[in-house]
């Protein structure tokens, strides 16, 4: 059993303006990953502005004070790099992996859009990226069967006013209403060195990175009074199950069952992570063995369970199954509920536990097998848990989870009277 899930060096510093810098040197390959976590996500969006954090992420690629429109992509790709960005309820991150000799270019580009986005932001850019994001919404959520499941689960799990009540993609109405001044204000409010973590992993020394970070980011002033998102850590149990049934153009009935658990990073969530793996990861999982293989209620490729790693409120655990031909949604839902209920009553065996831990170990080392995977992990732990070195503790924490803890967690967080069930039924075709 490994003592550490992060056997590489980690060095950190904090610039005078509050920017935290994390460096993990590894000279195996001549590549370097640069990753910025901004501590702003869709949980910060007020009513009427859903989808703004994510639309803003798009605007960050459209030029800044010293970088012309479209130049950001061109410069990174022209140096041989890969880049992207993602937004979720918790945070927004921007990342690129480049051949090591282009580290300074990546830092210059990131600093320019952290400190100099607003002067370059135009109505034309906003209008264009608004259309792109609306197309993203159509492509990912509207034009595919079951594509809106996540949009429907969140309001069932979290009450109005809770920071996770709405989905990050936002509503079409809010996106249409977005005006330029709001986005200028968004940058001025949240995009500051003291609200970000810069992580560099790979072929660079800490001393070199610290010096370059000071050179490019050091001049950007910190912001006072960055507003906090609403506090969502406590969600009262409702005491009654929430259900929703959707009749849609889908090829087969599908059921999602979801619960609020514990925030990512807590000891309770480590137990939930192992529990979810026992329940729904792989052919040896309980859901597969019982519903796909045993009773043959579920399509084998479409059964599973997973936790969604959110850190600022009890994170969701979601289990899902899709009916085989001739199986009703009620029958499938009953099967899914039964398997979940049994986690509290039928003890997890040593074999089940070892299987789950082995799968989690491989998943962890796979994330660690690239410099970009490591950079994202360190950025997360620095941003959400205050210390990148805590990344080393996750794998040992999973490996220490016991069968008793899983039964206790199941009794605590998977209670049938506080369960969300979302069912899709195939509409009758004429």
């Amino acid at each position: 059993m490994p003592d550490s899930g992060y056997p590489w060096p980690i060095e950190t510093t904090r610039l005078d303006n509050g920017l935290r810098v994390v460096v993990s040197e590894d000279r195996t390959a001549p590549a370097v990953a640069v990753n910025l976590w901004y501590d702003v996500g869709s949980r910060h969006e007020p009513r009427g502005q859903t989808g703004f954090a994510h639309l803003f992420e798009h605007l960050m690629f459209e030029g800044s004070l010293n970088v012309a429109k479209t130049e950001h992509m061109k410069l990174i790709q022209g140096s041989g790099g890969s880049l992207n960005a993602t937004t979720n309820p918790d945070r927004t991150n921007y990342f690129e992996t480049v051949p090591a000799e282009h580290l300074e270019l990546a830092l210059w580009l990131e600093a320019d859009r952290m400190g100099g986005l607003v002067p370059a932001l135009t109505q034309e850019t906003l209008d264009n990226q608004r259309e792109v994001v609306k197309n993203e919404r159509r492509q990912r959520y509207e034009n595919v069967p079951y594509g809106d499941a996540w949009l429907r689960l969140l309001p069932l799990l979290y009450p109005p006013g809770h920071p996770y009540h709405h989905a990050t993609i936002g509503s079409m109405a809010d996106l249409n209403a977005a005006d330029l001044a709001t986005f200028q204000a968004f940058h001025r409010t949240y995009y500051a060195p003291n609200n970000a973590v810069l992580t560099v992993v790979g072929d660079a020394t800490a001393a070199e990175v610290f010096k370059l970070a000071e050179k490019y980011f050091g001049v950007i002033p910190p912001l006072a009074d960055i507003p906090a998102a609403p506090d969502g850590r406590t969600v009262a149990a409702t005491g009654r199950p929430a259900t929703e049934t959707v009749v849609a153009d889908v090829p087969a009935p599908r059921v999602y069952v979801a619960h609020r658990t514990h925030p990512f990073g807590s000891a309770g969530y480590d137990v939930v992570t192992v529990l979810a793996t026992v329940l729904g990861s792989g052919r040896g999982s309980r859901l597969y063995q019982r519903l796909a293989d045993g009773e043959r209620l579920a399509q084998p490729d479409l059964v599973g369970a997973y936790g969604v790693d959110l850190a600022h409120a009890p994170a969701p655990l979601i289990a899902t199954a899709t009916a085989r031909p001739g199986v009703s949604a009620e029958h499938l839902a009953a099967g899914l509920h039964a398997v979940m209920d049994e986690l509290a009553t039928v003890p997890v065996t040593a074999t089940e536990l070892d299987r789950a831990k082995a799968l989690l170990s491989t998943a962890w080392w796979r994330q660690m097998s690239t410099v970009d995977g490591r950079a994202d992990t360190l950025g997360r732990y620095a941003t959400q848990l205050g210390d990148p070195a805590k990344a080393a503790e996750r794998l040992p924490a999973w490996l220490a989870v016991t069968a008793e803890q899983i039964a206790e967690a199941a009794a605590e967080v998977l209670a049938a009277d506080d369960r969300v069930t979302l069912t899709y039924l195939a509409e009758e075709k004429p």
Binding site: R138, Y216, T362, S369
Partner: protein, 445 residues
């Protein structure tokens, strides 16, 4: 605040080196391995000459069903026990099928690699293939495909492929088959396909810390009980270009986007223009900064993304463009996409565009080839296409030395905007008249 206005130049480049490759004939099969010192994870992949092209016409999906059936129990244990054994090592059997090969692999912490390869071989060489299980897996796979085909894309892909290559050829039909072809497979066909193609030794690909891996032991496990030699694979096929464009409309009532699939036949993988074609394809549609993505997404806002590329296997290839665009702008998006392909063919690319494409494709070799999985995949390319150990180093040089004349010649020779098949999957009632009014091509369905 004064941000630094001057863009920094690059530091001293550190050369990229593909890991050392080891090739060995052991126990009747071939081993090709890459040494990744210090890497905790390792990948082993068994590469079999059992790609989709080996499936008889009318039996599309044999390989895909067999891939699933391998895990339904072996000579030694039932399906549940097998799943627990494999997953107890922290891995799963990952199967992959393309036109040229069938692959099955495991990825595990390096100290578990031998045990994982033993289990891999157990499933590949000695699956139980009980007729009742195979029939059930086949039915499940047909249902899974039916579910998948409810998404936008697969029907359009199939229509394009059939139009390009002809449904009378195996490669004119979907790689994984379609819901009907899979539902119609005979259990015995699947057992025969296994005995014909899955007992031959094949090649064992290994990526990991070879100081902690005994290749001979792995090979002995992978090739135990295997027999039979290689079989002739056939040369490149000639696919004629169409005279004139055509539009194929695939109806998807209520669709809020139209799925575009544009294409025409192109050279096979070993064609000498491979690198300049790849560069031309990169500039036209292969990167975020490409001409197509810039125009259709960044300027027009019609889509979340559009891509185009040349793709090839041992015997055939195609140029293709794919996107999903908002229903209301289907016709202008199609016109603009065809226009950009035509401009690239007739006007060529600029030195500035090529500079970005060259360094991006070359740099990607150092950026993307990090994980054992990525290295294993690169080794697979060497084996399938009979390439030398220093292929990736040579490829890097070839990419970096690609010049404008070469790339423009490749664009002029291998892009055929007037022979494109334009498949549009969307709400026909909403878009048919607009498409007809473009005069791009006749709508043939």
């Amino acid at each position: 605040m004064t941000l630094i206005a001057t863009r920094p130049g690059p530091g001293a480049a550190r050369p990229y080196r593909f890991p050392p490759v080891v090739r060995r004939a052991v126990a009747g099969g071939q081993v090709v391995a890459a040494h990744l010192p210090g890497q905790n994870l390792a990948v082993a992949l068994l590469l079999l000459d059992a790609g989709a092209e080996r499936e008889p016409l009318g039996r599309e999906g044999l390989g895909a069903v067999l891939a699933k059936a391998l895990e339904e129990g072996t000579a030694q244990r039932d399906a549940a026990a097998y799943a627990l054994a494999v997953e107890g090592l922290g891995t799963e059997l990952v199967t992959g099928l393309d036109w040229d090969s069938f692959q099955v692999s495991v990825q595990v912490p390096v100290d578990r690699l031998t045990a994982a390869v033993e289990l891999l071989a157990e499933a590949v060489r000695t699956p139980r293939l009980d007729p009742a299980d195979v029939a059930r897996v086949r039915d499940d796979e047909a249902t899974a495909l039916r579910m998948d085909w409810a998404n936008p894309g697969p029907r359009a892909d199939a229509a394009l492929r059939a139009d390009l290559f002809g449904a009378q050829n195996r490669w004119g039909r979907p790689m994984y088959g379609d819901p009907d072809s899979v539902a119609g497979l005979d259990v015995e066909d699947i057992r025969v396909f296994h005995s014909e193609w899955f007992i031959r030794p094949g090649t064992l690909i290994v990526a990991g810390d070879l100081d902690r891996i005994d290749l001979d032991t792995l090979a002995a496990a992978a090739f135990a009980g295997a027999g039979g030699g290689p079989i002739e694979r056939g040369g490149p096929v000639e696919t004629p270009l169409r005279e004139g464009r055509r539009i194929i409309l695939v109806d998807r009532p209520g669709s809020v986007q139209s799925t575009l699939r544009l294409g025409h036949p192109a050279p096979h993988r070993a064609h000498p223009d491979h690198v300049p074609m790849a560069l031309a394809g990169t500039i036209l549609g292969g990167a975020f900064t490409s001409r197509l993505n810039h125009l259709i997404r960044e300027v027009r806002g019609y889509t979340y993304g559009i891509r185009g590329d040349f793709a090839s296997s041992r015997r055939f290839g195609r140029f293709g463009v794919s996107s999903g665009v908002q229903t209301a702008v289907t016709a202008p998006a199609l016109v603009e996409a065809v226009g950009e392909i035509s401009r690239t063919r007739s006007g060529g690319v600029t030195e500035e565009e090529l500079a970005v494409a060259r360094s991006w494709r070359a740099g990607q070799l150092s950026v993307e080839l990090q994980s054992p999985r990525a290295i294993a995949s690169a080794l697979t390319t060497l084996v399938v296409h009979d390439l030398p150990d220093d292929y990736h180093a040579r490829l890097r040089e070839a990419l970096l030395s690609g010049d404008v004349d070469q790339v423009n010649a490749a664009a002029a020779t291998h892009l055929h905007p007037d022979s494109l098949t334009l498949v549009v999957e969307g709400d026909a009632a909403m878009i048919r008249d607009d498409l007809a009014a473009t005069h791009l091509a006749e709508i043939i369905s």
